[in-house]
Symmetry: C2
Subunit: 378 residues, 2 copies
Amino acid sequence: MLMVPTFDADSRVKLTAAAAPREESRNAFEKEYGGTGYAAIEDLCADPSVEAIYIATPHQMHVDHVLAAARAGKHILVEKPLAISMEDADKMVAAVREAGVHMIVGPSHSFDPPVDLAAQLIESGEFGQLRMIQALNYTDFLYRPRRPEELRTEEGGGVLFSQAIHQIDVVRRLAGGMAKNIYAMTGAWDPKRPTEGAFTALMNFETGCIANLTYSGYAHFDSDIWMNDVGELGQRKQPGAYGGARRALMDLDPEEEARLKTTRTFGGGKTVDAKHNEHFGPVIALCDRADLKLTPDGIEVFGDTERSFIEAKFGPAPRRTVIDALVAAVREDEPPVQTGEWGLASLEVCHAILQSADTGQPVELQRQYRTKHREGTQ
Amino acid sequence: MLMVPTFDADSRVKLTAAAAPREESRNAFEKEYGGTGYAAIEDLCADPSVEAIYIATPHQMHVDHVLAAARAGKHILVEKPLAISMEDADKMVAAVREAGVHMIVGPSHSFDPPVDLAAQLIESGEFGQLRMIQALNYTDFLYRPRRPEELRTEEGGGVLFSQAIHQIDVVRRLAGGMAKNIYAMTGAWDPKRPTEGAFTALMNFETGCIANLTYSGYAHFDSDIWMNDVGELGQRKQPGAYGGARRALMDLDPEEEARLKTTRTFGGGKTVDAKHNEHFGPVIALCDRADLKLTPDGIEVFGDTERSFIEAKFGPAPRRTVIDALVAAVREDEPPVQTGEWGLASLEVCHAILQSADTGQPVELQRQYRTKHREGTQ
């Protein structure tokens, strides 16, 4: 819904080929872009006109597609989560390294301009040491149309691998990446959608920063009311839309629901009219001399005696920062912040949340990765 | 600041005597109420005109004053926290039981009408099972004028014993009282005020409900903006007041600061113009069929397909519910929800937060106490 407008609006990107199993999607692509629509990813990877491949397939297919792209020497932009299993993630990181290509794990909300701005402000030291981060998000995630496997945790369903991963990425980005341990509780409260729909977690970072992450996708309270009524994708929320996700699913069986989900792939015609930056719910970063509150338009600074606001520029196209990273990787050989190692570290935190909730004990993290351009600071 | 208007406005209460070390306070009391101002608590306890004593002395003095009142056969309303040490709390509970008097630990924010209403709604089962509670509060607590001991944790200073206790009381009230364990992190980030100014904690309840409690008293972000710009005491916040707490303390030495604090005792002339119920920051209670969001005026219900609002009546005087409990105890021999045992259970959670933050491990709770009028429900 947002990557198409992103590619369309950015002159640095040209869509020359695509692969998709649905013929309607391939035809729509060829008609719109004049490129080639392939049925098999291998054929896409063999196309010499392609420099980089954006992989937006279901989570469990990422590993095969990344391996195919890397072997063909293509740079990669792969949707979060990098993979479901750590083993797959390891394979992908190794394949990319061996091939000497760049892999960017994203887009995720750690690319949002306000997150980037907050990370820079924190890094600058202007507000003293970062002490705590509170991130929370209440959405309708669990009631958006799903394929059956998206409601099975072991196949990457539920809020952990699709939603927690954003919050973890954002928090790790602000705190410099090196989480030490995590303690968490999860909730799977709707027997009709029997995967995790909520979680709450406390993290410790190497720098001493602590973090509180909370998420509910149960489509009740909507925390966008605390984000100036701007939705996750930067769009203005419609006043009468409350309850829409649950209403749309009422009386649908799983097959009809999966069909509804299919209309959200390429050619479905749905795009979003974003006028603000994307966001992933309220985030507050507490530093010694100010709390920084992220909004869709920038950072509210709650200082010792005064409040101020620092704008985070929107546009010209949404997800400009993702294309910035892609162009830097492909044209200037500059690795992104969100490398494969970075994505693997965030994935480790997802698994640790499930493990901690299961055992009731904190989990030590072993595969964390420091944010590249924070080296030498702190 | 609020108990004086509470007593003044409620015809069921008559202030007949008081004890205070400061002569100005005693004189002001006698002048205003025509009763007797005693220098020693023992003399107040011996006054036969007194049926119940409200103890609002510094935390560490509660034990002596409760013991004196109980021995004299007076009913007791004692400010939270009941005590600092569990040993003192045990002594107080035993003394009250032996004397056959009632003790109410309060006021605390668990008396706020929206909390009471939410507890009733949850208990009714109308919205299904309670699954999670998120409570957060960002205030200027650490920068209000303090006596030196209020900045030493071991003497009950910092946000744990004065502020966490409110949040714990509120969350326990909503979840039925019986917490199982807690995991927490704390922050003491200002070397000039070297006690805990923030914490974040996850709790498990016997019912399966999980809870997330976060608090910062560092006077930066102010979460009252998420409570309709109504302050903790129900007063409308002043738009230009940001930063006032830190500004007022600038250039004061500890002695001047303690003097400033003294002006907030009886006779200081400061009362609050409350037009809404009191609150302790945003609280969201997630049930199967709705999220209940507490506001200063009631409960916002975020249901499956519709939003609604249920009013929690304000007034006629603030803290009516505290006097309700006092009158029921004194006149009808009816024990309050917030008994000594209840207050002791909340105090246990405060200590558990410190212990968990110190050890990095979850702490099992041993002294929890079920909310009285929830027996038989669940």
